[in-house]
C-alpha cells in the first residue's frame, strides 16, 4: 500500500480493471448561439488504468473543453462518454454528480479552493459530500493526505495564507480525498513558478507510479507534456496526434 492509500480502505474501486476507465466516442461539443462555436469535434479517445496522459495543443484548440467533457462537467452535443464502463449519456444531474464525486478528482489551474475554508476543510468537502466515511476517519484522511503532500503544518491555514504551490497541493489532496481512480487536471502547473510546478508535477507522477492512478492533465507546456507517458495533441477541436493510440 502506498503512503496515499492509508485511510481510504472504505472507498471502493469504481470500475472493472480490464476496461478502459474513460472512453470518448465521436464526441462533439458545439456551443449554441447566433454563430455556433465548435469546441471539439469527432473525438475518439480511450484512456486506461494507470495512464499519465497529457492533452496538449495551442490555445483555443479545445484541450480544456475536452477535459470538461471527460469529467462530465459538460455534456457532448453528440457522441458518448463512458466512465468506468458506464454510459453517461442518459445520466441525470445527480448521477453525474455522484460519478464525479466517487470516480473523478479535479485539479484546476487556479486551485479553486474555497477561500473561507482551511486546507483541511477544503480536503474534507468531497468526503463529506460523499458521506461514506465517519467524521473522524474523514478528518484523519484529510490530515494524512495533506501531510503526504508536505502540508502537515498548514492544515489549519486558509488558502490566502498559503503560497501558490501549497494551494495547488491542497487542490491535489482534495482531488484525492475520495480516492478516485482518475485525476483530471486542467493546467495544474499553469499558474505556478518553476519550483512549485516541479513539485506538483512530481506529485502527479507519483500518483501514477506508486498509486496506479490515471492522470489526465491538460497543458500547453510542451516540455511538461513530454515528461508524461502519453500525449494527445489537439488542433481546432480535433485530435491530430495521439502517441498512445492503440
Amino acid at each position: 500500500m502506498s503512503r496515499l492509500d492509508a485511510g481510504a480502505d472504505t472507498v471502493p474501486e469504481p470500475a472493472a480493471a480490464t476496461e478502459p476507465l474513460i472512453v470518448a466516442s465521436s464526441v462533439t461539443r458545439v456551443l449554441p448561439g447566433a454563430v455556433p462555436v465548435t469546441l471539439v469535434h469527432d473525438i475518439d479517445l480511450s484512456i486506461g488504468r494507470n495512464e499519465f496522459v497529457a492533452i496538449t495543443g495551442a490555445s483555443g484548440s479545445g484541450k480544456s473543453s475536452l477535459l470538461y467533457l471527460l469529467g462530465l462537467l459538460d455534456l457532448p452535443t453528440s457522441g458518448e462518454v463512458r466512465i468506468g464502463g458506464r454510459a453517461t449519456e442518459h445520466m441525470d444531474e445527480a448521477e453525474r454528480a455522484e460519478v464525479r464525486l466517487s470516480t473523478l478528482g479535479f485539479v484546476f489551474q487556479f486551485h479553486f479552493l474555497l477561500p473561507e475554508f482551511t486546507a483541511q476543510q477544503n480536503v474534507l468537502l468531497p468526503m463529506q459530500a460523499l458521506g461514506r466515511l465517519p467524521d473522524e476517519k474523514m478528518r484523519e484522511r484529510a490530515r494524512f493526505l495533506l501531510t503526504s503532500l508536505g502540508l502537515g503544518e498548514h492544515v489549519g491555514k486558509r488558502p490566502d495564507q498559503l503560497s501558490g504551490g501549497q494551494r495547488q497541493r491542497v487542490a491535489v489532496a482534495r482531488a484525492l480525498a475520495n480516492d478516485p481512480p482518475v485525476i483530471l487536471a486542467d493546467e495544474p502547473t499553469g499558474s505556478l513558478d518553476s519550483t512549485a510546478s516541479a513539485q506538483v508535477f512530481q506529485i502527479l507522477r507519483d500518483l501514477v507510479d506508486t498509486r496506479r492512478k490515471t492522470v489526465v492533465a491538460v497543458t500547453h507546456d510542451i516540455d511538461l507534456a513530454r515528461r508524461m507517458d502519453r500525449r494527445v495533441v489537439l488542433e481546432d477541436g480535433a485530435i491530430v496526434s495521439d502517441d498512445g493510440r492503440m
Partner: protein, 411 residues
C-alpha cells in the same frame, strides 16, 4: 458538522456586516410585529373586558324576537286578516323566579333579576335623564362588577332607607348630589318618588357613569307602577366566550329574547376583525420589506459565490445540496433576526407599557398590552417563511449554475 450547514455558516460568518444588516431588517420586522400585536390585542382585550364587566354576559328581556300575533291569526290558517296590530302583552317576564330557578339548574354561572326603566332625576332644580335599574343587592354581585365599582356606600346601603338610590359618580357630580341628599325620581309612567342617595359607583365607562342609577327591585317596580315586575334577567357565566351558545339555549327554552354580550356588541366585534386584518396586513408588510433585505443578501452571496458554487458542483455536489446551502443561510439569517426581534419586540412592548394615556371616555392610566408567546411564535414563523421564500429563488438560481461556464470564465 453537516457539510451544508458548515458551508452556510461559513458564508454568513465571512460577511458579518451584510449579515447584520439583513438580520437587523428581519429583527425590525419581528420586533415591531410583536409590539403591534401586543398593543392591538392588549387594547382589544382591555376593551372587551370593560364591555364584559360593564354589562351582563347575557341579558334576558321581556321582549320576543318577533311581535306576538293575535290569536285569530294563528287559529285560522285559511283566513287572511287585515289591519290587526300585534297582541299587546303585559310588560315583564312571567314567573321570573321560576325561570331563574330553572336556569340556575343548568347554567354554569349566576342569574339576577332586574327592573329597568327610564326616568328623570331631579335635584336642586336640575333635571337629568337616567337609566334606572332595580336590583337585588344579594344577587347583583354575582352578575355584575357593581359591588367592586362602588366608590361610596355599598350595595347593601340600598336597604338603609326607603327608596334608596345609588348614582353614577358623574351623574351625582352633574346634579351636585352627595350621599344623604334627597332627590326626586320620576319614572317613564309619570310615577314620582323621593329617594335618598346612599352611594356612588364608578364603572370607568363615561356614558354609564353619567346616566345610570340603581335602586331596589321594589323601588323600580313602584316607578313602573307594576308590582312584581321583572323585565330583565341578567346572567353571568363562568366562561364569557360561551355566552352566545348559552343565550341561544335560554331563548329556545324560555321564549324570551336572550342577548349575549357578543350579540349586543356585534358591531364592535366586527370592527375588531377589521382592525386585526389591518394589523396583520401592516405586520405582513413590515416582514415583507424585511424579507427583501434577506433576498438581497442571499442574492449578493450567491452572486459573489458563483465561483465557489462552480467548484462545489465540479467536485460533485448536487443541485439540491447547493440549493440547500443558500436556503439554510437564509433561514439562519431569518432565525437570527427573529431572536433579535424577540428582544426588540419585548423591549418595545415594555417601553410602550410605561406610556401613560388619558382617555376622555374610559379610565386608563397605561396602554393596555397583551404579552403572549403566540405573538412571538407567529412573528417568528412569518419571518422564517419570508426568509425561506427570499432565499429560495437566489438559491435555485445558484444551484442551476453551469460550472463549466464559471470555470471557463475564471481560466
Amino acid at each position: 458538522m453537516n457539510l451544508v450547514l458548515e458551508i452556510a455558516l461559513t458564508h454568513i460568518r465571512s460577511r458579518v456586516r451584510q449579515t447584520l444588516v439583513a438580520v437587523a431588517g428581519v429583527a425590525t420586522g419581528v420586533g415591531f410585529s410583536i409590539m403591534m400585536a401586543a398593543l392591538m390585542e392588549g387594547s382589544q382585550n382591555d376593551f372587551m373586558r370593560q364591555l364584559i364587566d360593564a354589562l351582563p354576559h347575557i341579558a334576558i328581556s321581556d321582549e320576543r324576537r318577533e311581535a306576538t300575533p293575535q290569536p285569530a291569526q294563528t287559529m285560522f290558517d285559511a283566513a287572511e286578516i287585515h289591519g290587526l296590530t300585534p297582541q299587546a302583552r303585559r310588560p315583564g317576564i312571567k314567573n321570573p323566579m321560576a325561570i331563574m330557578a330553572s336556569l340556575e339548574s343548568w347554567i354554569p354561572g349566576d342569574v339576577a333579576p332586574s327592573t329597568k326603566t327610564q326616568g328623570i332625576i331631579r335635584y336642586a332644580a336640575r333635571d337629568v335623564g337616567a337609566s334606572i335599574t332595580g336590583i337585588d343587592p344579594h344577587r347583583e354581585p354575582k352578575v355584575s362588577m357593581l359591588a367592586t365599582q362602588m366608590r361610596q356606600g355599598t350595595l347593601q346601603s340600598l336597604y338603609r332607607s326607603t327608596n334608596a338610590i345609588i348614582l353614577g359618580d358623574r351623574l351625582a357630580e352633574k346634579i351636585g348630589a352627595r350621599v344623604g341628599a334627597n332627590i326626586t325620581v320620576q319614572g317613564s309612567n309619570g310615577a314620582r318618588i323621593g329617594a335618598q342617595v346612599v352611594g356612588f359607583f364608578h364603572s370607568g365607562v363615561r356614558p354609564v357613569d353619567e346616566s345610570t342609577a340603581y335602586v331596589l327591585l321594589k323601588t323600580a317596580q313602584v316607578l313602573q307602577q307594576q308590582t312584581g315586575l321583572v323585565n330583565e334577567l341578567r346572567v353571568r357565566v363562568a366562561d364569557a366566550m360561551a355566552a352566545l351558545d348559552i343565550a341561544r339555549r335560554i331563548e329556545r327554552e324560555t321564549g324570551y329574547k336572550s342577548v349575549a354580550w357578543q350579540e349586543a356588541h356585534e358591531d364592535l366585534l366586527s370592527a375588531f376583525v377589521i382592525r386585526n386584518i389591518v394589523m396583520y396586513t401592516v405586520v405582513g408588510a413590515i416582514l415583507l420589506v424585511a424579507s427583501f433585505g434577506t433576498y438581497n443578501i442571499i442574492s449578493t452571496i450567491t452572486h459573489e459565490k458563483t465561483r465557489d458554487i462552480a467548484i462545489l458542483k465540479s467536485l460533485g455536489l448536487r443541485e439540491t445540496t447547493v440549493r440547500r446551502i443558500f436556503v439554510i443561510e437564509s433561514l439562519v439569517i431569518g432565525l437570527m433576526g427573529a431572536v433579535a426581534g424577540w428582544v426588540l419586540g419585548c423591549t418595545l412592548t415594555l417601553a410602550l407599557g410605561t406610556i401613560e394615556i388619558k382617555s376622555p371616555f374610559v379610565d386608563s392610566t397605561r396602554l393596555p398590552l397583551a404579552y403572549s408567546v403566540l405573538h412571538y411564535a407567529v412573528a417568528t414563523a412569518a419571518a422564517l417563511a419570508s426568509s425561506l421564500v427570499a432565499g429560495y429563488f437566489p438559491a435555485r438560481k445558484a444551484s442551476r449554475l453551469y460550472p463549466v461556464d464559471i470555470i471557463r470564465g475564471a481560466t
